[in-house]
C-alpha cells in the first residue's frame, strides 16, 4: 500500500493566512507520516524553483501541481513532472487571470491554458468547500480522476455510493515553520510502483483507495502519532483520570465537524431550572413552528387589516345621499355646477393582478427545467413564448392606460374641487363599487380561511425513538388562552365575544392599542406543540433528558464525527440498552462515533466495532498516558509504541468493577434466579 497526500501548500498566497514555508516541517511530515508521494498545490500559482528544491530534498515522488479557483470552487491539477518549465509557464497564465480574491476561471479557460486536460490529474473539491458543482462539474467530468473530501465520513459515503466519484482525503495543510500538529488526512493506494499513471489507474477503481494501509476503510488515523480508530462505533474505556475526556477533547480539537456531547451536559442538576430550560426550548421550537405554519395566513391578515367594511358602507351611503340631494336641487344649479366635470366620476384604475399572475404562470412553464420533457410532450414552447410576449405587451398597454387614468383622475379631482368652492350646489361623493364589492369578497374568503384554521386537527407529527412531537390546532375557548398566545397583558374578554365572526374579531383586536398589528396573526387559532412519551403523556423528569440526548444524537447526522462522554451519567440501563445503544449503532453505520463509558450496558452491549483503552502509567516516577486499541474480538489491545494489554481484563475492570465484583454479581443473579 502506498500513502499519498496530493494537496499541500508551501507558499502563502492571497487565499491563505500568512505563513512561512519550512522545509524541515515538510521533511518531518513526509518521514513521520510515512508518505510515498506528495504534490505541491498552491493557490493559483506554481513556483518551479521552489518545486525543484523540494523535489531534490525529498526521497519520495513529488508532483508539480496547482489549486485553481474554477467558477468559485476549487480544483487540484497535477502534472507528471516531466516538463516543469512548461507547467510553470501555463500556470503563470492562471496567475495572470486570477490576481485578486473573487477572480476565477472557467472550464473553457482551463482547456485554453493547459491544452489536453487528459494529460493531468484533475481532482475537484467534491464533498468539501468550496466545492465544484452543477454545470461546472458536468463540463469537467470527463477529465476528473477523483473527488476530494474532507472527512472519513464523507470518504465512506462516496465509496459506498456507486454514483459518486472515487474519494480522496488529503491534508490541504500549510507546511509552516510553526506547524505543531502534523496532518492526519491522507489516502492509501493499492499499487506497486507509485507512478503518475499508477495513481491515475488506482483512482479509476474505488477498491484501490482506502483510509488505512491494512484495514481497508474500517480504520482511519485520528492523531499524528499514528493512533487510529474505527470509522464505525468506538468504545473508549479506562479508569477515572486516565485521559478519556482528554482524548475526546483532542479529537474534538483535531477534527472539524465534530458533535461533542460532553459529560453531564444532559444531567438534571437543578430540577426546576432544568424544567424551565426544557420548556423554554420547547417554547422556542413551538414559536418557530407557529411562525412557519402561519406565515401564509399572516400575509392574508396583513391585507385584510386594510379593509374597512364600515367605511365602505359609509361611502356608498354618501354617494346615494349626495346623489339624491343633488338631483333634488337640480333646478337650482348655477354656471359652475352645470359644468359636466362637476359630478364626473373617477376612472377605475386596475391593478391587473390576474394578468400578472397569468404571465408568471406561463413563464413558470417556459422556464421549468425539471419537467421540461413532459411539458414539451404536450405544449409547443415556442407558442407559449409568443403567448407570454403577447400577455406582457398587453400588460404594458394596460399599465400605460392606468398611468393616463391616474393622471386624468388627478386632474378631474382638482377641477371638481375648484368648481365646488364657487358654488353652493351639492356635489356627488364618488364611490368605487368594484373595490367595495371586492373587499366584501376578501372578508368572506378571509373568514373561510380563519374557520379552516380553527378546525381541530393535528398539523405536524414526528416520532423520535418512542417520543412523539405533536403540533395541533383548535379554536380558542378562553380569554386566558389568547392572552398566553399573545404574551401581552391586556383583556381579551370583549374580543372573545366577537370570536365567531373573524372580521369583527379582527376589528376588536385592532382597536386594542396594547396589541401590535404585525403580531395579531397568532391570535386566531390555538396551536399547541407538545412532546409526548411512549404512553402519550407529556414528558416529565428524566424523560426530558432522554429526549434531549436522543435529539442531540439525531442532530449528529449533520456532523462528521460524534463524541459522547459517559451517557450513563443520567440515564437508566433500560433506556441506554433499548434506545441509546440502538441509535448509536444506527448512526455509526454512516459516521465515526466514540463513546466513553464505564457502564456495562453501553460498553458491553452496544456492539462496538473497535475498543480504545486509556491508561495512566507511572514509569520511573514519570506519568505516561497511553491508548491501547484493537477489535473487540482481539485477545490483546496494542498501543502505538508497541505495548499490549489483555482485553478480557480491561473489560472486566472497566465495566464490571473487576473480576471479583463481576463473579459475585453473577452468583447473586443466579441465586435469585434459582429461588
Amino acid at each position: 500500500m502506498k500513502k499519498i497526500d496530493l494537496h499541500i501548500h508551501t507558499i502563502a498566497t492571497i487565499h491563505d493566512s500568512d505563513f512561512t514555508f519550512c522545509m524541515d516541517t515538510l521533511k518531518r511530515y513526509v518521514t513521520e507520516a510515512n508518505l510515498d508521494a506528495i504534490a505541491i498545490t498552491n493557490h493559483d500559482m506554481f513556483d518551479a524553483e521552489q518545486f525543484r528544491t523540494i523535489n531534490e530534498s525529498l526521497p519520495i515522488a513529488v508532483f508539480p501541481g496547482i489549486e485553481i479557483n474554477l467558477d468559485n470552487g476549487h480544483i487540484l491539477l497535477m502534472s507528471d513532472g516531466s516538463n516543469v518549465e512548461d507547467f510553470e509557464s501555463r500556470s503563470n497564465d492562471v496567475s495572470r487571470r486570477i490576481s485578486q480574491i473573487g477572480d476565477s476561471i472557467t472550464v473553457g479557460d482551463l482547456e485554453d491554458i493547459y491544452g489536453n486536460l487528459h494529460n493531468y490529474l484533475i481532482i475537484p473539491h467534491y464533498d468539501k468547500n468550496p466545492s465544484i458543482r452543477g454545470q461546472t462539474l458536468e463540463d469537467l467530468l470527463s477529465y476528473v480522476t477523483a473527488g476530494e473530501v474532507d472527512s472519513a465520513k464523507k470518504f465512506l459515503r462516496a465509496i459506498k455510493d456507486e454514483t459518486k466519484l472515487t474519494p480522496v482525503l488529503f491534508s490541504d495543510a500549510r507546511m509552516s515553520d510553526g506547524l505543531c500538529r502534523l496532518p492526519i488526512r491522507q489516502t492509501f493506494l493499492d499499487c506497486g510502483e507509485l507512478t503518475f499513471s499508477a495513481i491515475r489507474a488506482c483512482f479509476g477503481d474505488k477498491g484501490k483507495v482506502s483510509l488505512s494501509d491494512d484495514e481497508g476503510n474500517s480504520l482511519f488515523q485520528i492523531f499524528d502519532d499514528g493512533q487510529r480508530m474505527s470509522t464505525g462505533l468506538n468504545v473508549l474505556l479506562g479508569d477515572r483520570s486516565t485521559g478519556k475526556t482528554y482524548t475526546l477533547d483532542k479529537i474534538n480539537d483535531v477534527f472539524e465537524g465534530v458533535k461533542y456531547i460532553e459529560q453531564f451536559s444532559l444531567v438534571q442538576r437543578d430540577e426546576a431550572a432544568y424544567e424551565r430550560e426544557f420548556k423554554n426550548e420547547v417554547q422556542r421550537k413551538r414559536s418557530r413552528f407557529v411562525d412557519g405554519y402561519l406565515s401564509p395566513f399572516k400575509a392574508v391578515l396583513d391585507d385584510v387589516m386594510n379593509v374597512d367594511l364600515e367605511g365602505n358602507e359609509r361611502s356608498v351611503e354618501n354617494y346615494i345621499s349626495t346623489l339624491l340631494k343633488s338631483a333634488e336641487e337640480a333646478d337650482r344649479r348655477d354656471a359652475y355646477s352645470k359644468v359636466a366635470l362637476f359630478d364626473e366620476t373617477a376612472f377605475p384604475v386596475r391593478d391587473d393582478k390576474v394578468l400578472k399572475d397569468l404571465i408568471a404562470s406561463v413563464r413558470q412553464i417556459i422556464e421549468n427545467i425539471e419537467y421540461r420533457e413532459m411539458i414539451e410532450k404536450h405544449i409547443d414552447i415556442q407558442s407559449l413564448k409568443k403567448l407570454a410576449c403577447e400577455l406582457i405587451e398587453l400588460l404594458w398597454s394596460k399599465a400605460l392606460e392606468n398611468k393616463k387614468r391616474q393622471f386624468l383622475n388627478g386632474l378631474i379631482k382638482d377641477i371638481k374641487e375648484s368648481l365646488k368652492m364657487r358654488t353652493s350646489a351639492v356635489q356627488v361623493d364618488d364611490v368605487d363599487l368594484y373595490r367595495v364589492s371586492m373587499e366584501t369578497r376578501k372578508v368572506g374568503r378571509f373568514s373561510d380561511i380563519v374557520n379552516s384554521l380553527r378546525k381541530e386537527s393535528v398539523i405536524f407529527e414526528e416520532s423520535i425513538q418512542g417520543f412523539r412531537v405533536i403540533a395541533s390546532k383548535s379554536p380558542f375557548t378562553k380569554a386566558g388562552e389568547i392572552l398566553f398566545a399573545s404574551g401581552v397583558k391586556t383583556s381579551f374578554r370583549d374580543a372573545l365575544k366577537e370570536y365567531g365572526d373573524p372580521y369583527r374579531y379582527l376589528q376588536a383586536l385592532i382597536s386594542d392599542g396594547n396589541l401590535v398589528r404585525s403580531e395579531l396573526y397568532r391570535l386566531f387559532a390555538k396551536i399547541e406543540y407538545k412532546i409526548l412519551n411512549r404512553d402519550g403523556f407529556e414528558v416529565s423528569g428524566g424523560e426530558r433528558s432522554e429526549f434531549r440526548l436522543l435529539q442531540e444524537i439525531k442532530d449528529a447526522q449533520n456532523y462528521d464525527i460524534l463524541l459522547i462522554d459517559e451517557p450513563e451519567s443520567s440515564f437508566d440501563n433500560m433506556f441506554l440498552k433499548s434506545d441509546v445503544n440502538q441509535i448509536l449503532r444506527e448512526i455509526s453505520k454512516s459516521m465515526p462515533v466514540v463513546v466513553v463509558t464505564h457502564n456495562n450496558t453501553v460498553g458491553a452491549s452496544v456492539g462496538a466495532d473497535y475498543l480504545l483503552y486509556a491508561s495512566k502509567e507511572v514509569e520511573s516516577g514519570k506519568v505516561t498516558y497511553r491508548i491501547y486499541s484493537g477489535y473487540p474480538t482481539d485477545k490483546t489491545l496494542k498501543s502505538i509504541d508497541g505495548r499490549s494489554i489483555k482485553s478480557h481484563k480491561i473489560i472486566l475492570n472497566s465495566l464490571e468493577a473487576g473480576r471479583e465484583a463481576y463473579e459475585s454479581r453473577r452468583c447473586g443473579y443466579e441465586a435469585i434466579e434459582d429461588r
Binding site: A330, D331, V428, Y434, V436, S437
Partner: protein, 103 residues
C-alpha cells in the same frame, strides 16, 4: 334580468321584491343589492336617454347609477377572475387540513 328601466318618462330600478320603483327612492341597500346582481347575474339596463326621462332629478340619478352599474358589468369577468383567486393558495393550504409535514 333588467335592473334599470325607463317607463312613463321616469327612471326606475328593480327592488329586492322584484318590483320596479322610481329611481329617486333608491337607498344604499338597494344600490348594494343591484351591485350584487350585476356581478352575479346576466343583467341589462335601459340606456340613459335624456329625451325619455322628463324629470330632471330622475335624469341625474339614473345617469349616475346607470354609469356605475354599466362600468361594473363591463368588469364582471375581471371581478370573477380576481375574486376566485383571492388568497387561493392560503385558502387551499388551510382548508380541510388533517396532516402536514413541517421542516
Amino acid at each position: 334580468m333588467k335592473l334599470l328601466k325607463i317607463d312613463n318618462n321616469l327612471g326606475q330600478f328593480l327592488d329586492k321584491s322584484g318590483e320596479f320603483q322610481p329611481i329617486d327612492r333608491i337607498t344604499k341597500e338597494n344600490l348594494l343589492s343591484l351591485v350584487d346582481l350585476t356581478l352575479n347575474e346576466e343583467v341589462e339596463f335601459d340606456e340613459y336617454d335624456e329625451e325619455k326621462i322628463r324629470n330632471q332629478a330622475h335624469q341625474i340619478i339614473y345617469k349616475s347609477i346607470h354609469e356605475k352599474l354599466r362600468g361594473l358589468r363591463d368588469r364582471k369577468q375581471e371581478f370573477i377572475d380576481e375574486s376566485e383567486r383571492l388568497y387561493l393558495a392560503e385558502y387551499e393550504r388551510y382548508k380541510d387540513e388533517t396532516s402536514q409535514q413541517a421542516d
